[in-house]
Amino acid sequence: MKIFVTVKQVPDTTGKVAVNPDGTLNRASMAAITNPDDMNAVEAALTLKEKYGCKVVAISMGPPMAKTMLREVLAMGADEAVLISAREFGGSDTYATSQTIAAAIDHYGLDSEDIIISGRQAIDGDTAQVGPQIAEKLGLPQVSYAGEITMDEPGRLTVRRMLEDGYMTIRVQTPCLITCIKELNNPRYMTVLGTEECWDKPLTVYDYETLKDHPLIDPSTIGLKGSPTNVYKSFTPPQKGAGVMLAGDGREAAAELARIFSEKHVI
C-alpha cells in the first residue's frame, strides 16, 4: 500500500498581491507557499502512514523551484517526492494538468491498495477540478470534500463526504482518489529531525523524456496546446470610491443611519 499526495506550490494570495499594468499577476512580488488544502492532504496521508506503515509519495507539477516545497513535505514525514517539470507541460489548464499528473502516477506504479489524496482546491485558481480529473484519467473512483477518512481494512475506506447542509458516509475500495477540506485535520509542522532527514530522501524529477511514451502523454493533451480552455482576457475589478463617512461613532451617527434606513424602507 502506498499513498500519493498531490501538492502544489502557489502564490500566497492571502498576503499582499501586486497586479501588473496589463492585468496579469506579478508573481515575483508574492511569497510561494504550499497550497493550504494540500497541507491537509499531506497530514491525512501521514496519519494513515502512522497507523498502517505505508509509503507516502508527494507528487507535484511545476517549475524547478517547487523542489523547495517538496523538501518541506519530506521534512513533514513523506518518504519520497516526485516533481513533474518540463517546458512542454507549461501553460496547462486543469485538463492537461490532470492528464500529466495521472501519467506520472501511473508511471510510478499504482497498485490495488493505493490511495491518492489531494487538497480540495488551490488558492491561485480555486477550481477544485484537478483531483476529480486525475481520478477520471486513471479510471478510479473518487470521493471529494472529505471531512473524515477511516480505513476499515486494507483496500477499503469509509469517508465522510461533506455537503453544504450535512454529509454523506461513503464506502470506497482502493485504488481511489480522495480530495480533502481544511476541516479534516490540522497539518503538523516539520520537525528538526525531519528537516535533517529530508535531504536523504529521494526527490525525483520527471521531465518530458520520462513521460513522453506514456499513453496519456500526447502533444494534443498536454501543456498550453493540449489545454481545452484558454484565458481570453484578465482584468482587475473596478475600484469603487469611498462613500459617505458619518461623523464619529456616537448617537448622532447612529440616528443618522437609522434615518437613512427609514428613508430607504429598510425599517
Binding site: 502564490p11 494570495t13 492571502t14 498581491v17 497586479v19 492585468g23 499577476l25 489548464d93 485538463y95 488558492i123 491561485d124 485558481g125 480555486d126 477544485a128 477540478q129 483531483g131 476529480p132 480529473q133 477520471e136 484519467k137 473512483p141 470521493v143 471529494s144 461533506m162 455537503l163 453544504e164 450535512g166 454523506m168 458516509t169 461513503i170 464506502r171 470506497v172 481545452p228 480552455t229 484558454n230 481570453y232 482576457k233 484578465s234 482584468f235 482587475t236 473596478p238 475600484q239 469603487k240 470610491g241 469611498a242 462613500g243 459617505v244 463617512m245 458619518l246 461613532d249 456616537g250 448617537r251 443611519l257 437609522a258 437613512i260 434606513f261 427609514s262 430607504k264 429598510v266 425599517i267
Partner: protein, 373 residues
C-alpha cells in the same frame, strides 16, 4: 465512448443544457438561477434550452424549470440515481451529451456540481471553467459588462481572435487569485463548453406558469447498472442545526476580527442588529477559521457570494477575498476602528469607530425610528 463522437467537431453541437441538481427529490434553488441564465445564452445563440434531470421518480419536479425559461427537460429516472454518486451521474450525463450534443453545458458550483462537472469534462475531452460569476455569448454584451465591471480600456483593446468566433463562443468570467484578478476563459476548440456557476450570483427570472405548462418532458433510454457504481453511500445526514441562508438574505450583518476583544458580545450585537432588520449574521474568514461562527456564515471568495439590499460589515478590514463575496451588495455600511481599512473603499456609508459602542446605539435608534412610524 460512442463511435463517431468527437468533441472537436464543434459544428455538430447545438443547444444549451443545464444540469438540474436535486437532492432527496427536491430541486436545488441554484437550478432556477442557471435556467434563467441559460435562457439568456440560448437566446443569444438562437437555440433551445434544455434541463437534464437525474433522480429516482423525479417527473414531479421536472416541469417547474419551464417556468424559468427551459424549452425541454430530459429526465433520467432510476433507483440507482436517487442519491448522487459520481460514477452513476457521470455515466448517464456523458452518455446523454454524446447522444444529444449540446454546445454549452452549465452546472451549479455546489459540492456536488464541483465533483461531477470536472469528471464529465475529463471524460468528454472538453474544457470546463470553475465557479463562474458571469457568462456571455454576444461580444457586445461582454464589452458592456467590461465597461462597468473592469478597469480595462475597452475601446482601446482588440477583442478579435483568429482561433474562434468571438461573437458565438461562450465567454466565462470568474475570480482568480483569491479575487485579486478576474479572468475570462474560453473553450474554443471543443464542445460542449462547460461551466460551473457560483450559487447565488445569477438572477432568477420571475416564474411563468405558461412556460412550466408548455415544457416538453422527455425520457430518453439509457443504460446504468449497479456495477457501474464503485462507491456505496451508506447514509446521507442532514446537519442537525439549521444553516444560515446568506444567499437568499436581504439584510446581512457580518462580523470580522474586530470582535476579537469580546467575541460573545460582538456576535450577540450582530444577531440583535440582524434581528432588528429581519436579516442574518455573516462573517469574514478570520471569524469562521477561529471557530467563532460555523463555516456556513462565511462570506467571500472561499465562502458565499451574497448580494443583499444592505450589507453591514462590523470590524471587517475588507481583504479582497471578503470583498469578492459581497461587493455587489446594493448598500454597504462599514464600521471599523481603522479609518484606513479597505472595507471603506466601496462602502456607501462608513463609520470610523468602536463597534461595541456604535452598534448598541444604532439598535436603540432603529427601535426609536420604528416606534415613530
Amino acid at each position: 465512448m460512442a463511435v463517431n463522437y468527437n468533441s472537436e467537431d464543434i459544428a455538430s453541437f447545438r443547444n444549451v443544457w443545464v444540469f438540474c441538481e436535486q437532492r432527496e427529490g427536491r430541486m436545488m434553488p441554484t437550478t432556477f438561477e442557471l435556467i434563467s441564465e441559460g435562457r439568456k445564452l440560448a437566446d443569444e445563440l438562437g437555440c433551445e434550452l434544455a434541463g437534464i434531470l437525474l433522480g429516482d421518480d423525479v417527473d414531479g419536479i421536472a416541469a417547474e424549470i419551464g417556468g424559468y425559461g427551459a424549452d425541454k427537460v430530459y429526465v433520467y429516472n432510476s433507483p440507482l440515481l436517487g442519491t448522487y454518486t459520481t460514477d452513476a451521474y457521470t455515466k448517464v450525463i456523458c452518455d446523454a451529451v454524446e447522444e444529444f450534443r449540446p454546445e454549452v453545458m452549465l452546472f451549479g458550483a455546489s459540492n456536488i456540481g464541483r465533483d461531477l462537472a470536472p469528471r464529465c469534462a475529463a471524460r468528454l475531452h472538453t474544457g470546463l471553467c470553475a465557479d463562474c460569476t458571469h457568462l456571455d455569448i454576444d461580444l457586445q454584451g461582454y464589452l458592456d459588462f467590461l465597461r462597468s465591471g473592469s478597469s480595462l480600456d475597452v475601446d482601446g483593446m482588440n477583442f478579435e481572435s483568429r482561433q474562434f468566433d468571438v461573437n458565438t463562443t461562450l465567454k466565462m468570467t470568474r475570480p482568480a487569485f483569491g479575487g485579486h484578478l478576474m479572468a475570462t476563459i474560453v473553450c474554443p476548440r471543443f464542445r460542449p463548453a462547460m461551466a460551473s456557476v457560483r450559487p447565488g450570483v445569477m438572477a432568477r427570472r420571475p416564474f411563468d406558469q405558461a412556460g412550466a405548462d408548455g415544457i416538453e418532458v422527455l425520457h430518453p433510454g439509457f443504460s446504468l447498472n449497479r456495477d457501474d457504481i464503485r462507491t456505496e453511500v451508506v447514509e446521507v445526514v442532514k446537519a442537525a442545526r439549521k444553516l444560515v441562508d446568506l444567499i437568499g438574505a436581504d439584510y446581512i450583518v457580518s462580523v470580522g476580527r474586530g470582535i476579537a476583544s469580546d467575541v460573545e458580545r460582538g456576535i450577540a450585537l450582530a444577531q440583535e442588529l440582524a434581528q432588528e432588520l429581519g436579516g442574518v449574521v455573516g462573517a469574514s474568514r478570520a471569524v469562521t477559521d477561529a471557530g467563532w461562527l460555523s463555516a456556513d456564515h462565511q462570506v467571500g471568495q472561499t465562502g458565499k457570494t451574497v448580494h443583499p439590499k444592505v450589507y453591514i460589515a462590523l470590524g471587517i478590514s475588507g481583504a479582497i477575498q471578503h470583498k469578492a463575496g459581497m461587493q455587489d451588495s446594493e448598500c454597504v455600511i462599514a464600521v471599523n476602528k481603522n479609518e484606513g481599512a479597505p472595507i471603506f473603499e466601496g462602502a456607501d456609508y462608513g463609520i470610523v469607530g468602536d463597534l461595541f459602542k456604535y452598534v448598541p446605539l444604532l439598535i436603540e435608534e432603529i427601535r426609536k425610528a420604528k416606534a415613530a412610524k
